[in-house]
Subunit: 335 residues, 2 copies
């Protein structure tokens, strides 16, 4: 557990071999992984992840998206794109555990006034609002709505590597006034190096701490930096960490839970149930879903672009022609 620049100074908590108690871990396996299969996980898989999270001592499980049925066709997407109360309860019952259940609500893609129930009718504990820079007012209204209904809230500002600094400052200033408990630094394209994480963490912490919020990190693995950038966030003071079992997630995937838990050194976490779930429920999906580091994802990371062109390339007959994708992406601005 890495302790440089921690705000904690008491006792042994600032030492390498100790741990930082404030840190919370969120499992985003089903939510982020759902971007590789239109959220069509079978119940057995979702239950396996839930059981692993409970047994591993993980703090939050993000079980899917709360997407609008007006925007997303019910017959094209699986249950975990919508997270109806009955679907969640089929997996977690009344969730008699210390694990909190989170859902992600995308700005402009969520019918939040109708689809997010009052907390007393729901087994959901937290609503995480994901927003692009141009959707901040909508996101803030969504956070207020969820907060008023009784939920914990959190906000993920996406694609920060493509946001102009002046606008980022304005956005963080606005977000710092809202009810969210944490603001997440999100490297949507897996394009950031540690030095950039340092710079952005300083900025996020400045706004967050002044308004009593935590900073979270959500990192992608396009440059094989998903885990190390999460560590870098921790070193700088992030206390809200996203990871996924086996790194399952869009494109190159995420910070792997099995690596993160061991790093944290907190005895409440246990890596064995995560490995069991990885082996029995996650790895069997790898060939079909195709997440994880590969050269095309590296190249979209280099170019600071959405991975969609790499996802398409990896699904095409040319997938092994790495040089052709390289030539395409450096020639074609829209690749």
């Amino acid at each position: 557990m890495n302790m440089q620049n921690t705000t904690e100074t008491s006792g042994f908590a600032g030492r390498w071999v100790s741990y930082r108690e404030e840190i919370k871990v969120l499992d985003a396996t089903i939510r982020d992984g759902g971007l590789m299969n239109d959220s069509k996980f079978d119940d057995r898989t979702v239950k396996a992840v839930y059981d692993a999270c409970v047994e591993a001592g993980i703090d939050y499980m993000e079980i899917g998206y709360k997407a609008s049925k007006k925007v997303f066709a019910r017959d094209r997407f699986g249950a975990w794109r919508f997270c109806d109360e009955a679907d969640i309860r089929r997996i977690v019952g009344d969730n008699p555990s210390a694990l909190k259940i989170s859902v992600m609500a995308d700005a402009e893609k969520t019918d939040y006034h109708n689809d997010i129930l009052p907390k007393e009718q729901s087994v959901i504990d937290m609503v995480r609002v994901a927003t692009y820079i141009h959707q901040i007012p909508t996101a803030l209204d969504m956070i207020k709505d969820a907060n008023d209904k009784g939920y914990e809230t959190c906000v993920n500002l996406m694609s920060v590597s493509n946001v102009l600094e002046r606008e980022l400052d304005m956005a963080l200033e606005m977000i710092s006034t809202c009810e969210a408990k944490a603001i997440c630094l999100v490297d949507s394209f897996g394009a950031l190096y540690s030095e950039q994480i340092d710079y952005l963490m300083d900025k996020y912490l400045r706004y967050a701490k002044a308004s009593g919020k935590e900073v979270g990190v959500h990192m992608h693995n396009n440059l094989q930096l998903g885990f190390s950038n999460t560590i870098q966030g921790i070193v700088k003071g992030a206390n809200f960490l996203d990871a996924t079992i086996g790194g399952l997630g869009r494109g190159a995937g995420n910070c792997p839970m099995e690596l993160l838990l061991r790093f944290l050194h907190n005895p409440k976490y246990n890596v064995r149930p995560v490995l069991k779930c990885l082996q029995e429920a996650i790895e069997p999906m790898r060939e079909e879903l195709g997440w994880g580091f590969s050269v095309p994802y590296m190249l979209t990371g280099f170019m600071n672009r959405h991975p969609r062109s790499a996802i398409a390339w990896n699904d095409s007959p040319e997938k092994d022609d790495l040089v052709a994708f390289y030539d395409k992406i450096i020639v074609d601005e829209e690749a």
Copy 2:
């Protein structure tokens, strides 16, 4: 190119979007990869790596080991375990390029007085001596021998994550008196986190700089930190960097060359020939050689152990039983 704590201060070299001219990159694909196939690469593969290194602007290519034929059976190992002059010249001719050729000489496993020819009879440019902490006097004699014969020299102190601090200080003090141009920080077991890299880099730099040497880094990928720990070394001041194409190397493999070159921002480097070699010569070997991140390698990394038990597990019929390997390695001290 990451510039924190660089010793360079002139012009733009200290800035993120610039680069550090002193940095040299060594390709260890055939040398380290040879630990996965007893150095049995065919000529076509070695030539593909050589051509890629030349075209990519890489500074050194480590073409194999200079192993003693008394210790290593000639019929069990391929040519690149011994690097006879005729074998090297079959690939590189008189090496009419800016690329320098390196060989690795392991302490106690090299018949260096006989097998390392005077420089004027060899196309080799550098001899890198690899040593465990208990072999330092032998290593220093090997470096002197190679230096006297006219070669550049470098020293890799292996398995530093298992060396007691008092002995490491003694070793670095001794090494700092030798003729080597660089001392390599080697994370043999892929067990180190960035904070540990920081601490060790400070120590290595203290000894190296006082004696006019550079510090190098050689990182393994057991915890998906091969690339990021190389970056961390650069941030701290390492100017001599090991990488391999596709990360090919023992167990979880090494820092991937294709990631490193792009990070460095030096216009003399070109990633396209590396991708071509990766596609045509390296990836076709992946299934048979089986290098790269996997959970068993992660677990030996966690335990700060040699990857041999994980290599054996990955070759066994139980390879997909991750929990069984976890149970084995935490129960069996010798796993």
